[in-house]
Subunit: 121 residues, 2 copies
């Protein structure tokens, strides 16, 4: 079977590094990724797609050019296609990101956080 | 903005009926739906798409023609495209379902649980 049952917290227990999303499942051409985040990410956007953030544990904010979305455990936000955003978290936060296969985490912004490989956990 | 921030538990508090999924968000042409389930659903499949189940609270099982997947809170499973499945829950269980817009909850199986409208909550 394409995917077995997945325990999201078990997957998180294997992930150590911040800002380093790992794929845990695929649905059609969409991927579910987990990430631990802390501090400030880079401003970027995804010109071809929306991007879904779900907070699994902790708190994060998604800065937008006009305002900021603060998310706690059990809250989700979908960043619209092409919208600049900058994820941030004061303390470590565990998130689930859902987006099409092939989306690069930093969009076209580049920089040290950029991941272009398909990394599963 | 297409979607505001969404609190998944707040959405569940508005949903009373079992087996009656409601859309809470859209990402591109995919939809996030919440459902409260209890008892046995009908056997069905979705011939054009995978379907993602995430358990938010409680326990459920997804019966397959060969075996059964038991899911607890924080676990997810993606039913592959075209695969017969029958969701069940002994006690009320809260789930998040992710699938393309337009997917009918009972596939082609029909019956009293079938929902063909786009119902948001």
């Amino acid at each position: 079977m394409k995917n077995d049952k997945i325990n999201i917290n078990e997957k998180f227990s294997k992930l150590k590094k911040h800002w380093s999303p790992r794929i845990i499942a695929e649905m059609n051409d969409y991927q579910f990724k987990i990430a631990k985040i802390k501090g400030e990410f880079v401003w970027h956007n995804h010109k071809d797609t929306d991007e879904t953030f779900i907070v699994i544990e902790g708190q994060m904010s998604i800065k937008l050019r006009e305002g900021e979305v603060k998310l706690s455990e059990g809250e989700m936000f979908i960043v619209p296609q092409g919208m600049d955003h900058k994820p941030c978290a004061e303390k470590e936060c565990k998130i689930l990101v859902i987006e099409p296969r092939g989306v690069v985490n930093t969009g076209d912004a580049g920089g040290k956080y950029t991941i272009t490989e398909e990394l599963w956990i």
